[in-house]
Amino acid sequence: MGLRFGLIVNPVAGLGGRVGLKGSDGEALQERARQLGAQPEAHVRAGQVLRELAPHAARFELLTYPSEMGERPARDAGLIPTVIGAIRDGHTTGRDTQRAAAELRDSGVDLLLFAGGDGTARDVCDAVGTTVPCLGIPAGVKIHSAVYAISTRRCAEAAMRVLDGRVRSYREAEVMDIDEDAVRAGRVSAALYGYLKVPNESGLVQSLKSGGQTGEEAALASIARAVVEQMTDDRLYIVGPGTTPRAVMTALGLPKTLLGVDVVRNRELVASDVSERQLLDLLGREGAPGAQIVVTVIGGQGYVFGRGNQQLSPAVIRAVGTDHITVIAARTKLAALEGRPLLVDTGDQQLDRELAGYARVIIAKGESMMVKLAP
């Protein structure tokens, strides 16, 4: 017996999608979805992944929670899982997901697979953070979190790579907390929630023509050095959330609010985890040298503004000036967009149009890429 895979299925994830509801959070909504005849999407999606893994069952142990939280889909796929924990069938909540994630982690799984949507990812994130490699099986209605594989096929693929000892590195991927309806209604409800550790997809195939790849960590450090080198005296630097901006703060020797916005001047911390109000106050007091926003692409959809960094509101962006925005992102992150443009959704359509065009994204020290930015 080789590796241990953990499995969590959020039985209600994706329940709302097929019957036209916007999400599946909350028991009342789930009940209504069931009444409308919704099928548990997560069960189906998890099954697709598990069936790919089933022929290799002799090489791994599958640990999971009882019944609809993993055991049933596993057995349906022809696997015989080791079942831990206890649930109330038909009445599971986010707490069960959290408990399962923590217990599976403590059981020593090498990779934790979970089927669900953004809410499921948040529960897993609450429980285990970046302490164990994870990978999401996409089953939610609309997924913003970058911890999910693009398809069940690719999820199975990644799991197989872990099984074959072919994964060379892991990276931190975003978990998002977004209520699309609230965003549409202009309410601040699109936060960056946290990070999970996921297998890196790149660098698996050796390329004798182009030489080695730069690892994620080295790439971020290089981007950070590029940003720091360009910093000028007395200017206010507003550093957005995320691991890439965190690398900038690390390069400065400063602490970073991973999920929030920090402000730096002359390489010193001015304020941590600021709100829109605080930013506007700071900017109102600014003199000639002005300010610069440093942001990265957040989540799997390619948003630069409007998801996960609501503090950087239209008023803040206007006060700084649209030509004083530095976008930073690792090359692999841009490649993962597969040609789609970067997005802005500040809630101010006029501003979105002004921001549209080409962003010169810093991808390493001395290297940038022109990327289309669309409202």
Partner: protein, 462 residues
């Protein structure tokens, strides 16, 4: 005349070409070129020499041109200075001509297992010779290798100055200078005019906390052996700088491995190892370091490592440190890699396996004896003084002709009539040496060859 069917182009046969057109469903290749706007098209027929379609005619034509050359087989050659005439074992010529190696390229170890193993073995034997555990795939030449070592050192310690012996090969220096621009500057260290050795006082005064690396060549371009390796290493290391030593590896059967006197990087050229001179086309640089992640991370070259496969007991090969980690700052001031001189690396491996430890010792010792003999007999010639530097020499040495009142240029022209290629003229690059030439003697030279040189020199300087 009908359009020829070209032997290198099977589908130039009209019926085959028609099959292509039919398969695509077009009438003419112009349907494909239609994607190129008319104003970007080349109009007319290229003005090139009329072709010699048959292999025989072409070969005869080329051989007639080459016959205008005078070669080092029919003449007595004493030129060195970056390319050297050594015996090329027949086995080396056989392997370099194998179509498998000759026409392979970037296939992975599954199609090109043998290529990987051959390059791993090259690295293994070079590593033994220089005393290092890591040897990268070859570079274009020694100059390229030295420049990459300097850039690696600079990235590793974040410093931007390279201190270099003033006896460094001038043409190599031109290459290195171009590679180091604009970020890294070069500082030259004086040498002792008597011995040629690095002036340690001057070195101390020039090495500082800005020094990324100290570089010297051993044997030096001017042939003498730098005896103060350990002292130079100590000065460099005391300032936190790296030591790069460039070597002619044919000396390493008798000379200490650079790692043993403190080199952090060793570079040089493997042309002496079974590769014909080819008017300078035989160059192939090598680079070696210790096996520590902060050194390994900075290599721009491919690094081939040995590993296991799904088959028990089988050796497999793959690229090491493919995904460079945070050790690496290659993104900054990074280098380009590409097609360099892998085939020559393979051949250098063949050569070293043929020679073995004893062969390398005999080669080195025999060359030193011949060189000493040549110095002895040439110095007897009136007006000729050698060695110019009072240090041991390996295979090259400076001969001064000031006492003959003739220029090296004149002497070398006159030597041509005796079927002798005299030493490389140093008067342009090292004016302080007066009318001096760099002579090179290797295992290909017999006592009679050296005596013939002396006789010819006596005649032309008389």
């Amino acid at each position: 005349m009908a359009k020829p069917v070209y032997p290198y182009i099977p589908n130039s046969e009209p019926a085959q070409k028609q099959r292509l057109l039919d398969g695509i469903g077009i009438d003419s290749v112009e349907d494909i070129y239609a994607e190129i706007p008319d104003h970007l098209r080349f109009k007319g027929r290229m003005n090139l020499p009329e072709p010699l379609l048959s292999e025989y005619a072409m070969k005869r034509h080329v051989l007639q041109i080459l016959a205008k050359n005078r070669n080092c087989r029919d003449n007595l050659n004493f030129l060195g200075g970056g390319t050297w005439q050594h015996h090329v074992p027949s086995v080396c010529d056989t392997i370099i001509g194998r179509d498998e190696f000759l026409s392979a390229y970037v296939g992975d170890a599954y199609s090109d297992h043998g290529k990987f193993q051959a390059l791993f073995e090259y690295a293994s034997m070079m590593g033994e010779l220089v005393g290092m555990d890591v040897v990268a795939t070859p570079t274009y030449d020694w100059a390229n290798a030295a420049a990459f070592c300097a850039r690696m050192a600079s990235r590793k310690n974040g410093r931007a100055e390279v201190v270099m012996a003033s006896t460094t090969s001038p043409s190599r220096l031109m290459v290195i200078e171009n590679y180091l621009k604009p970020r890294i500057s070069l500082v030259q260290v004086a040498h002792d005019p008597e011995t040629g050795a690095l002036d340690l006082e001057d070195l101390r005064s020039k090495v500082s906390d800005a020094t990324a690396a100290v570089y010297f060549e051993n044997p030096s371009f001017l042939g003498f052996i730098e005896m103060q390796g350990a002292a130079i290493a100590e000065i460099a290391h005391a300032a936190g700088a790296e030591l790069i030593v460039g070597v002619d590896p044919s000396s390493l059967g008798v000379l200490s491995a650079p790692a043993s006197y403190g080199a952090d990087y060793v570079c040089g050229d493997v042309q002496p190892f079974g590769i014909h001179m080819q008017w300078g086309a035989g160059l192939s640089g090598f680079m070696a370091t210790r096996d520590e992640p902060d050194y390994v991370a900075e290599y721009p070259n491919l690094l081939f490592g040995i590993t296991t496969t799904t088959k028990e007991g089988e050796y497999g090969f793959g690229e090491v440190f493919y995904e460079r980690t945070s050790y690496a700052t290659r993104e900054e001031g990074k280098d380009f890699v590409g097609t360099t001189t892998a085939l020559y690396g393979i051949i250098a491996g063949v050569y070293l396996a043929l020679m073995g430890p004893q062969g390398m010792r005999e080669l080195g010792e025999g060359i030193m004896q011949r060189a000493a003999y040549a110095i002895d007999v040439l110095d007897d010639i009136p007006g000729v003084q050698t060695p110019r530097f009072k240090s041991p020499v390996f295979k090259e040495f400076v001969v001064n002709f000031d006492g003959t009142n003739r220029s090296v240029r004149d002497i070398n022209k006159a030597l041509l009539d005796h079927g002798v290629f005299g030493g490389h003229d140093l008067s342009r690059d090292f004016p302080e040496l007066g009318q001096s030439a760099l002579y090179c003697v290797t295992e290909v030279h017999t006592q009679a060859d050296i005596d013939a040189l002396a006789t010819a020199l006596r005649a032309v300087t008389a």
